[in-house]
Structures are given as structure tokens and as C-alpha cells.
């Protein structure tokens, strides 16, 4: 039997007894680490733990780019928007990704296959422009190569 999210959250919150508002970010980070994203259930539960309204918890979480509010897709695509990648045209790549995956950064496609995340720098500046799929880094990307990588993922699913 799988544990409900409420139950899974308890040990994490227990790490922060009597926590006040300044514990919000660390708690959000821990929950995202464990769950992969911040669900409605998690936001509400964290709010109750800290005596903060859900709108506030959500508002603070959206202030930082690191948090996501939908589960990751089966293929989690990260695109680097660091300086090196930017110079090499990552704006265009993001645009291509948004269109081919039909998701915006931070979102997950309806079929649950793809999610897209923009990262400030992947630390792979020598490979710019870079992207990754489920952690595997792809170097020196072009729109054509993006389409190819995405097509490969889709093909794998159909097989």
C-alpha cells in the first residue's frame, strides 16, 4: 500500500518542531526533495504547520524559481539559461522546447510525459548551449537536435 502524501509529510515536518515563518523555505525545499514537487496537499499542510495561509505559502514558493507545483514528467527536460548558453542562443531553444513539448517552464504536459524546467546555470558552460533529459546532458544543442531528442523519447513510449 502506498502511504498518502499527508502521512509522508509528517516525518519531514517533525524535523521542524515549533518552526516559525523563517523555516518556510527549508521546509519547502525538503518537501520538494522528497516529493519531487509541491502539491496542494503539501502547501496546505505546511501552511498549517507554520500557521500561515496557503496563499502566503504559495506566494513565497512562486517567488523562487526552484519550486515546482506539478509532478515532473516521465522525461524531465532542463534547459540552461546561464550566460554562456544565453550567448549561444538558448532563448531560441527554450522557444522551440516550449512549442514541441507544448508546455511552459514549470509545467508538465497533460499526458505526464514531459516537464520543462529552466535552470540558471547547469555548470556545463563548455557545452553551451546545453540541456538535459532526466539528468543526461546534451551538448551544443540546436533546434533540429532538440526535435530529434524529443522524437526519440516519444518513439520510446510508443514502442
Amino acid at each position: 500500500m502506498t502511504m498518502s502524501e499527508e502521512v509522508r509529510l509528517e516525518p519531514i515536518l517533525a524535523e521542524f518542531p515549533d518552526a516559525a515563518r523563517d523555516a518556510l523555505i527549508p521546509i519547502l525545499q525538503r518537501v520538494q526533495e522528497a516529493e519531487g514537487y509541491l502539491s496542494e496537499v503539501a502547501i496546505a499542510r505546511i501552511g498549517r504547520h507554520l500557521n500561515l495561509p496557503a496563499s502566503k505559502v504559495f506566494g513565497v514558493a512562486t517567488f523562487y524559481n526552484q519550486f515546482r507545483f506539478l509532478p515532473k514528467g516521465k522525461y524531465h527536460v532542463m534547459i540552461c539559461r546561464g550566460t554562456a548558453c544565453h550567448v549561444k542562443g538558448s532563448v531560441k531553444l527554450l522557444d522551440v522546447l516550449t512549442r514541441t513539448l507544448k508546455v511552459r517552464p514549470g509545467q508538465t504536459s497533460r499526458d505526464g510525459l514531459f516537464s520543462l524546467e529552466v535552470v540558471a546555470c547547469m555548470g556545463a558552460c563548455g557545452l553551451a548551449p546545453a540541456m538535459s533529459v532526466n539528468g543526461e546532458v546534451y551538448a551544443k544543442m540546436t533546434p533540429k537536435r532538440i526535435e530529434k531528442v524529443v522524437a526519440e523519447c516519444r518513439a520510446k513510449e510508443q514502442a
Binding site: 496542494e40 502547501i43 496546505a44 495561509p53 496557503a54 496563499s55 502566503k56 504559495f58 506566494g59 512562486t62
Partner: protein, 573 residues
Amino acid sequence: MLNVEVNDRTIAAKPGETILEVSRRAGFQIPTLCHLEGLSPTGACRICVVEVENAAGLLPACSYPVQDGMKIKTHSAKAVEARRTIVQLLLSNHPDDCLYCSRSGNCDLQQLARDLNVDRRLYRGARSSYPLDVSGAALVRDPGKCILCGKCVRVCEEIQTVAAIDFLHRGSKAVIGTAFDRGLNTSSCVNCGQCVIACPTGALSERSNVQDVLSALADPTKTVVVQHAPAVSVTLAEEFGAKPGRDLDGEMVAALRLMGFARVFDTSFAADLTIMEEASELAHRVATGGTLPMLTSCSPGWIKFVETFYPEFIPNLSTCKSPQQMMGAVIKSFWAERNGLDPRNIVSVSIMPCTAKKFERSRAEMAHDFVPDVDYVLTTREAAQLIRTAGIDILGLQPESADTPFGERSGAGKIFGASGGVMEAAVRTANFLLTGSELSELDIQPLRGLHGAKELRARIGDLEVSAAVVSGLGNARALLDAVKAGQKQLHFIEVMTCPGGCINGGGQPFHTDPMALKARMRALYSIDRSESLRTSHANLSVKRLYDEFLGRPLGERSHHLLHTHYQQRDVLI
């Protein structure tokens, strides 16, 4: 005492007073956008900057305390230019929509742009792409017109303790929204409209029904009737430029008739009816060991607040419908029957000081056979709009009186419009019901005034009654918590969602005059004092309604038509 110079005029000031407060006292108006009376300043907008001799830069008047010998120039060239730049920046991503905006003519941003001679677009920024939120039964949010002053957020969180909305995202993407950025209808919002009153722009407004009412009035197959709430007649005049506190009851009735409403009824009549039911319910609860304290149920924002945040108190809520809904129910039953009308062909309109009434009328419990008891709710502001559309010079009309059988009202019904009024009306009647005689003094002073929490201990017959009156949901929350903790033993609690009661409802005219609330409240009590009929139980029309139709308070028909039930709400809080 400190001495401060404002625009070369010397004025005495108390330590801790802000530049804004002292300047106002000296007679100089400094514009503000993010400043909220009574709440701590955030200094977010900086429109209030003034020049102070020897200060390093311009200082924000709303938050900066005066110092002895300070020399302030509220409108120096430098200050005015800084304000002008701020407005120009605010307008850089603003939709120039004034022609189509409900706030036009009443918008702080528009006014500032005009006052500061902003005559063209100087900066061009990307427009916000956030869509309108039309999901709410009562309110419409237009993030495109939002200047992120944060007033709505603070009112909702600090005054109402609802916190349905907050700042989301950051930088150029910053926006005000609900948890998970969903529609207001799925949030914990209670539709009180206090954020609308606070908003300096058209980013927040009520969902308008003016066009719907105009269409109904033009439809010959419909009989369109209207009721108006106690707090409307004492504020409507402000929409037409009159001083706060002028009562327009009779003129309003005349105007509504001119527009083609078949009947004009007074919600204060239904307030009297509410008192008959509610006082009987309280007596019944006390006699039978029912759930106490009983909580009033006439303010629909408060009802949703209990359903959302304090479901454990649902059994404490009086089952009485609000006066609006009682009136709606008797119009489409008793009155329809008497006049041989099919309820389906009656369009029942109500004019309310309140945005939450729009939500209330849409509740499933407020209909019979899928015919809603009230079809459209107009706020005081919308009613004024309707009157303007009809081209009526309301201030010049001869007063007329409301229609039978729901036009007679007591002073007790009228003071429902102020916080404490329901309790005062209830005590007057409870005393009569329990002792058989009238109170020697009908004015109950401890229940009056604008403070958010009041208490009354009174002897009624053999009963020592403890009652409390709160307005503003933050005060209500504090009281419920005290009751929960066993710190307060009370029989009866009156709660009004809006601070001060309906005179300060979310549908009332936007006011900049801080004395407006007091004037509105005074007007209600002076109407009561001048009335010969001052108690609900002496209202003969109410008596007749019981004799001819309802039977008795809490009787079967009453139960069916005038009482309701509540449900816990499962929303993100």
C-alpha cells in the same frame, strides 16, 4: 509636543505622528496609494514623498515620523516631479482602458495622472498577460489594471484574516493571486469586497448586474420588484455628490418607481421579520439547552467564513436566512400567490451595500424548485449607476414611501445597517417576548459605535444575558477563538463581516472622507430615533404576514421559507 513646519505653517505635533498625519491636519493633502488607515505602512508605492529641509532625499510621508523643527514642503517642485515619474512608471504597463473601466471618474490612479499633468505615455512596458478572473460570484479581478500596491492583500489578511490572496511570482511577473493561482471561486475568499473598497484602481470590482436589471425592466413579460437594504438609503447620496449621512430613502423609492420597478419593498421590513424568527430561535435554544452561543446569520461573508475556517461552529449559526433572502422567499411565495403571479415571471432585484450578497443569492439553498428567491443583487454603487443610466436627478425628487405589504419597517429594522444594530433590535424584541413589556430605554448605547468589539450584559426577565457584537472578520476570529478556549461565556453574538457593519460594506460608495462612516452611522440612529415604530414586534405588517400566511415564528411555513442550513467548505486555506 513637537513643532513642525508644513509649507511654512507651524503646527504642533505629537511624537510618533507621521508627516502625512501632521500635513493633513495642517490642511495639505498628500496623495497616497499603498497607505491604509490604521495599518502599519509598507512604503511600497512612494507616491507620498515630500521634501524635508536638510534630509538626504525625499521622504515617504505615510511612514516617516515627524521630528521637532522639521521643515516640510509637501508639494515642492522636486516632490511633485518624483510623484509624476512614479505615476508615469505605473502607467507604463497599464491598459489605457478608462473608457471601459468601472472605476473611471473614481480611480485614484486616473486622478493622480490628471492632477500631476501626465498627458502622454512616456514609458512603454510589457502589458501583463494575466487574464481576467471572472470565476467569482461576486467579484471580478483584472490583474492588468493592478498596480501592486498590496492594499487588497493586507485588508484580506490583516483586517479579515481570510488571506485568500497574496503576491505571487516576482519581478515583472508579479501578480496578486490565490493559492495555486486559481479562480477566486475556488479560494477561501468570502466575497466581502473590502479589497474592492481598498483598491485604488479598477483591478477589483463587483460583478455587475446593471445590464441584466435593465433588460429585465425592458421585458414586458416580467414583473420586476426591488428591495433595498437598511444601509443603502444613507449612502446612496454620496454617489451623487452629496455629503455623507444624507438619507435618500424616499427619493430612492421614487427613482426606482420611475424606472419601472413594479413594487419597491424595504429590506428593513424583512429585518423585522428576521428579528421575530431569530429572537424566538434564541429563546428556544436557551429554553431547550440548544447550542450556544448563537451566532447571527445575516452577513453572508461571515457565513462562508464559518463554513470555511470554523466548521465546528456551524451548529451555533442561527438557521435564520438573512433579511435579503427572507424577503426574496416571501416575494416569490406569499406575494406571488396574492397577485396571481407565477414566481418564474417575477424578477426579484435587491439593492445591497454588500458584494457577498451576490454570492448568497446564488447558493443552492436560496431557491425553490430551481427558481432563485433573489434574481439580481446590485450594490449601492450599481444602483447609482442604474439611476444615472435612467437619467434621473434623484436629489431633486419628491420622496415617496415603499409599497405594501413589505414596505413598513421599524427603526429596529433600519439600524441593522450598523454594527450592533441587529443585537439592539433583538434585545428590544426579546425583552418584550420574555417579559411582556417594552424596555424603558430603547437606545442601547453599549452596542453602538464603530469599535470592532462590543459587549452587553443585560437582565431580560429572569435571564442574565451576555451578548457580544463584533465587526470585521479578524475581530470575529479572535472572539471565536476565545469562545473555543472557554474564555467567554456568551448567549448571543452578532457578527458583521465588514468593519462597522453594512454602512462600510464592500458594495458601498468609495469614500475618501474618513468621517463618512461616522456620518452614515449617525444617520441610521437618527432615523431610528425619529421613528414612532421602533421595535420589530410592533410592526403590524409583519404581524399581518404571520396571521395571513406564515403562522408563527419557527412554525412550519417559517421553517420552510425563512430558515436554511450550512455546509463545510473544502477549500485551500
